[in-house]
């Protein structure tokens, strides 16, 4: 199979969806003339024109609100937010307006908007350009939240997100854009709401998504060298969560570690760990461990950033603690 980058895979998804459905359009800061800060929109204006690929002013609240308004009259907007951190500028439009709309209208209106937001810490971007905000948005009802880890899923999940009838927050870790991987030619969809066991094992289940999935797979490799067979689950969609796959895996292994870049305190891992313990209490051989960012703004200096963001060794250490329970 051919190998392309994560950014190229998402560009392909956009191109295919825009060609398929004339209602789909894309807007954001620096996306048309520049092709996106990670090259993920290169060539699209040449094919679809500047009406459907729009450069915008730096006005996040109005852009999010406008994406909602366009969706309400029947268009299918994809909004690119420069950095996920800037979503915080538009919390009213995101939460009070977009996320609540279908519910508040008694199901009579819908908001099929995709918001693409690069997140995650990369090369000392500092506190305003490094956040992983999925924990925040998972807490607020009304968003489907997607966080792909591979080029293959990036393409298939983005296409599914664009076809979804609900607001989708599509979070792309910045460090993933240049990462290459096998991507099938032509059309395929990866369904929202489904996780995948990406590595099988019997001793412990390691649960992750996005960039941290790759660190988790590295940890699983290291464990294998010690004779421990770790199963790895890629969540792919964080809301709704694929509980069947999660519970099935942890029931088999009896041990679990959840790892992510979002803050550990009240992060996605907290909900997953609590639910696994509620459901599988008697079948668990150890408490579920959580790995996430320390509860501080993301620092600038490389050693500080590295300390705050979960690393392979943090996941490895958590797995070893879980395995140490008799």
């Amino acid at each position: 199979m051919r190998e392309i980058t994560f950014a190229e895979a998402t560009r392909e998804a956009m191109e295919e969806e825009m060609a398929r459905d004339p209602r789909v359009f894309l807007m954001g800061e620096d996306i048309a003339k520049q092709g996106g800060i990670f090259g993920q929109f290169k060539g699209l204006p040449q094919r679809f024109g500047l009406e459907r690929i729009r450069d915008t002013p730096i006005s996040e609240p109005t852009l999010v609100g406008a994406a909602l308004g366009a969706a309400l009259v029947g268009a299918r907007p994809v909004l690119d937010i420069h950095f996920a951190d800037f979503l915080l500028l538009a919390m009213d439009e995101l939460v009070n307006q977009m996320a609540s709309l279908r519910y508040m209208s008694g199901g009579k209106l819908k908001a099929p908007v995709v918001i693409r937001a690069p997140d995650g810490a990369i090369r000392s971007a500092g506190a305003h350009h490094s956040k992983s905000l999925e924990g925040l948005f998972l807490h607020l009802p009304g968003f489907k939240v997607v966080a792909p880890a591979t080029p293959r899923d990036a393409k298939g999940l983005l296409k599914s997100a664009i076809r979804a009838e609900d607001p989708v927050l599509y979070l792309e870790h910045k460090a993933l854009y240049p990462r290459k991987g096998p991507v099938p030619e032509g059309e395929y969809l990866v369904p929202l709401g489904r996780a995948e066991v990406v590595r099988e094992g019997r001793d412990v289940t390691l649960i992750s998504y996005s960039l941290t999935l790759h660190k988790t797979l590295e940890a699983a490799e290291a464990l294998a060298r010690d004779g421990v067979e770790a199963e790895v689950v890629d969540l792919k969609t964080l809301y709704p969560l694929d509980w069947d796959t999660l519970l099935g895996s942890v029931e088999r292994t009896g041990r679990a570690v959840v790892a992510h870049e979002s803050w550990r305190f009240l992060g996605p891992g907290a909900e997953i760990a609590a639910t696994l313990e509620e459901r599988l209490w008697r079948k668990l051989k150890a408490p579920v461990a959580r790995v996430g960012a320390a509860h501080v703004p993301i620092p600038f200096s490389p050693p500080l950033e590295r300390r705050v963001i979960p690393q392979v060794e943090d996941i490895l250490m958590a797995a070893k603690e879980v395995l140490a329970w008799a």
Binding site: R23, S59, T62, G65, G69, P240, W243
Partner: protein, 323 residues
């Protein structure tokens, strides 16, 4: 649009709101209620120009806009009562009214919340190649929010078909206009190159005329326009507001320019028979009575309905707990 039709809409809003106030005070309507009394000429005059394919965003004071748009008073009243037959099946309430079929994209509990949505609706119409204009209503309180400035900019930049309708009733909640704004509205709007007209918001014909003129611009594809209707709310910010921020004398003075009184006097001066006017009013009273009976007689939503409708398909966080 004849003055008599405009009067009929204003009368419908006035009586509806007076009844809502009584029902709220009698404990029949939950939540908060913000009345439109005094501002009827703005909704009636502006929305007389509303056509199928147009859209509307409204404010937390949105009953009048809904009624002027033609939302069935029964569906509206049932929503205020929180009943299943309500226009949002009881999930919206007074401040959050939607009627997809009529293009009502929401009253809004957030001041200026509707502005970017209106701009986006205009953008969507453009992308889809549809005709149509978006009526965006907001109060003077919205002038303080950054999103208003962003919305004017984007609408002007992309020449979107949005009519901004500022209902300047002189109070943002309880704070007077002059205490909140350091700028002049015409200068603000002019800075974005958006055509601006002001109108006496108590004179329904004047509002109708001004909006008609601006809409010709909007519908011709030359971008947004902005009307400022100077109006006054006769009642408090919400039902129960002690109104410590203004004098009784000020309210009484404003009431002398009651938009309904002005329109009624003009109709009679034009030679309309008193009996004809009263017959029209009686018909409206009957419609209102029906709406109240309908709302009171409507069932409450099943409590389980609270758990569904966030997404297109049901999502269960704890699927094993399903019955």
């Amino acid at each position: 649009m004849e003055l008599l039709d405009l009067y009929r809409i204003m009368y419908r809003i006035r009586r509806f709101e007076e009844r809502v106030e009584r029902l709220f005070l009698a404990g029949k309507i939950p939540g908060f209620v913000h009345l439109y009394i005094g501002q009827e000429a703005v909704a009636a005059g502006a929305l007389a120009h509303f056509r199928p394919g147009d859209y509307l965003t409204s404010t937390h004071r949105g009953h009048g806009h809904a009624l002027a748009l033609g939302v069935d008073p029964r569906d509206l009243m049932a929503e205020l009562f929180g009943r299943r037959t309500g226009v949002c099946r009881g999930k919206g309430g007074s401040m959050h009214l939607f009627d997809a079929r009529r293009g009502m994209l929401g009253a809004n509990g957030i001041v200026a919340g509707g502005l970017p949505i209106a701009v986006g609706a205009g953008l969507g119409l453009r992308i889809l190649g549809h005709e149509g204009a978006v009526f965006c209503f907001f109060g003077d309180g919205a002038l303080g929010r950054g999103v208003l400035h962003e919305s004017l900019n984007l609408a002007a930049l992309w020449q979107l078909p949005v009519l901004f309708v500022l209902e300047n009733n002189r109070y943002a909640s309880t704070t007077g206009f002059a205490e909140s704004h350091a700028f002049q509205v015409p200068a603000l709007v002019g800075a974005y190159g958006i055509p601006y007209l002001e109108a006496d918001g108590s004179d329904v014909e004047e509002v109708h005329r001004a909006v008609g003129e601006l809409l010709a611009h909007v519908r011709s594809g030359r971008g947004p326009a902005f009307v400022e209707a100077h109006t006054y709310r006769f009642k408090g910010h919400y039902v129960g507001d002690p109104e410590r921020y203004r004098s009784r004398q000020e309210v009484e003075e404003a009431r002398r320019r009651d938009p309904l009184g002005l329109a009624r006097a003009r109709l009679l001066a034009l030679g309309l028979a008193q009996e004809e006017l009263e017959a029209l009013e009686r018909k409206e009273e009957e419609l209102l009575e029906e709406a109240v009976v309908f709302a009171e007689g409507s069932p409450w939503p099943d409590p389980e309905e609270a758990l569904v409708g966030v997404f297109a398909e049901p999502v269960s966080d704890y699927p094993w707990e399903e019955p």
